[in-house]
């Protein structure tokens, strides 16, 4: 298991604080749900921007933050212009810093670092390799 440094802990705390602040202006009208592609398919409040806002306002880290297309449709329909995707990204970043990112994502990044391909297979056709820091 990855050891979490104090700097990462502080950084993650700051990111969650910032994500929470973004939702300070949310009035919970729920209009964001109308155009959210993820909510319209899964139809659970937690998948909507308002649902994610409830989590982030309480500084709760949950893998549901990764269930967002970052398409900004919710921001388009938000009458107050809450930057939902920015908050979700901050939440995700905080989770990754604390080693709570998605295993699938970590595997994909490992594959890119090792082989240059997200699938872990070396390219035989000489395609350009991907790079990850």
């Amino acid at each position: 298991m990855k050891k979490i440094s104090n700097t990462d802990r502080i950084e993650a705390g700051n990111l969650m604080e910032e994500a929470s602040e973004i939702f300070d202006s949310c009035v919970q009208c729920g209009l964001c749900k109308g155009r959210c592609g993820v909510f319209r398919v899964l139809r659970e409040e937690g998948f909507s921007a308002r649902g994610k806002g409830a989590l982030l306002s309480g500084k709760i880290m949950d893998k549901i933050l990764f269930e967002c297309n970052l398409c900004r449709a919710c921001e388009e329909s938000c009458p107050l212009g809450v930057k939902v995707c920015e908050a979700v990204l901050k939440g995700r970043e905080a989770m990754v810093l604390l080693g709570r990112g998605l295993k699938e994502n970590e595997k994909m990044i490992g594959n890119v670092r090792k082989t240059g391909s997200p699938f872990g297979a070396k390219s035989s056709t000489g395609e350009e390799k991907l790079f990850c820091c």
């Binding site: 009035v27 729920g30 659970e44 909507s48 308002r50 989590l55």
Partner: protein, 370 residues
């Protein structure tokens, strides 16, 4: 449901906070029955856009009907359609596109409001002046009682369920009446004083092609960019309005965004007193003296004064004034948790009788309305 995710269900657009023990999102009527039979206390939830806290759980299980999205038996000739409770109004309008029919009641939250929620709150919306309440457009509702029994209730029993905010049973399906789509246009009319507003509203209400008369007070008018003075947004089902096409859509967008705009400025608590048009200037003058920005469906006498935290303490005073002027404390948002204290004793007795008859086990939305 995962414990973390319960938090999403512990509030609604009223911003009241509650506590959910668990949340269930059934996909069909059988799953709804399972939830009803296995739990003692159930709070029924649609889109969660209610402004009176009707869907806020208080240590109960939440039954989210958003996944009941079936649409069937669309009869173009009879102008009826059967929908499940979780169908969103705008999705229904999309479904009907191409048929020259629509569901005419239009609450501001039409993009997310579910039909079940609209019936349960008997939503009015901005076209109330012509089309009335949601229940006017419901042929029957299919309701599940606390024993899991399913029964269709027609127009004569509609009042036991429509507008009862889910305290009498779970509305799982409804047959809706539809109306022909109209070509619509709108005008924004500036007025100098409240008497002018009253006179114009009276004249407009006599016209058959007027389907919406929305009032914006001076503060709201300025805030949304209409400038000084009072304003009326009038929707015509003809080409009499000066705004058509994109301009019409734009002004309707402004109208839908008024509450979120005010809430963003700190005027979070929205009320919905209903008052006769000739008494409206008295109420409006009081609201202006308190600095409470107000808009509303003046065509049906419903106003939406929006209070900030400091102004909230004057709400009981406003309610007293509304009652003294012969009005109702809630015209369309319902009673929920927020307005329980303002329900008249006689009304409470009537509501209790209906509750005892329809939900003798006291399972549904306990602590709401009464």
């Amino acid at each position: 449901m995962r414990k973390n995710l319960l938090k999403s269900y512990e509030s609604d657009a009223s911003r009241l906070k509650g506590k959910a023990l668990d949340v269930f999102c059934p996909r069909n009527v059988d799953e709804v029955r399972d939830v009803v039979l296995k739990n003692d206390r159930v709070v029924i939830r649609g889109a969660g856009t209610g402004l009176a806290g009707g869907a806020v759980p208080q240590g109960e299980v939440v039954l989210d009907l958003s996944r009941l999205t079936g649409v069937s038996n669309f009869d173009e000739g009879r102008k009826t359609i059967e929908v499940e409770a979780g169908v969103v109004l705008d999705d229904l309008q999309d479904y009907l596109r191409g048929s020259d029919l629509e569901f005419p009641v239009k609450p501001s939250s039409h993009a997310v409001a579910t039909i079940g929620g609209m019936i349960a709150t008997d939503a009015v919306g901005s076209r109330g002046v012509k089309y009335g309440r949601t229940s006017t457009w419901v042929k029957w509702v299919e309701v599940m009682d606390s024993m899991g029994g399913l029964e269709k209730k027609g127009v004569t029993e509609m009042s036991d369920y429509a507008g009862m905010e889910g305290i009498t049973g779970v509305i799982v399906r409804a047959c809706l009446k539809l109306s022909g789509i109209k070509e619509r246009s709108a005008s924004v009319i500036r007025l100098g004083d409240l008497d002018e507003v009253v006179n114009l509203v009276r004249r407009l209400k006599q016209r058959r092609d007027v389907s919406m008369i929305e009032f914006l007070d001076r503060a709201v008018s300025k805030g949304v960019g209409f400038g000084d003075g009072y304003h009326l947004i009038v929707e015509y089902e003809s080409d009499d309005g000066s705004l058509k096409g994109e301009d019409y859509e734009k002004v309707m967008g402004i109208r839908d965004g008024i509450y979120p705009f005010l809430a963003g400025k700190g005027y979070i608590r929205i009320e919905d007193p209903k008052i006769m048009i000739d008494r409206f200037p008295k109420l409006m003058s009081w609201l202006e003296s308190k600095g409470v920005p107000t808009f509303g469906h003046i065509g049906v006498g419903i106003l939406h004064p929006c209070f900030n935290v400091e102004q909230e303490k004057s709400i009981p005073e406003m309610m007293k004034l509304v009652k003294r002027l012969g009005g109702q404390v809630s015209g369309e948002h319902g009673i929920g948790i927020l307005k329980r204290g303002f329900v008249e004793v006689n009304d409470q007795k009537i509501l209790w009788n209906v509750k005892k008859r329809t939900d003798p086990m006291g399972k549904f939305n306990v602590g709401k309305v009464i």
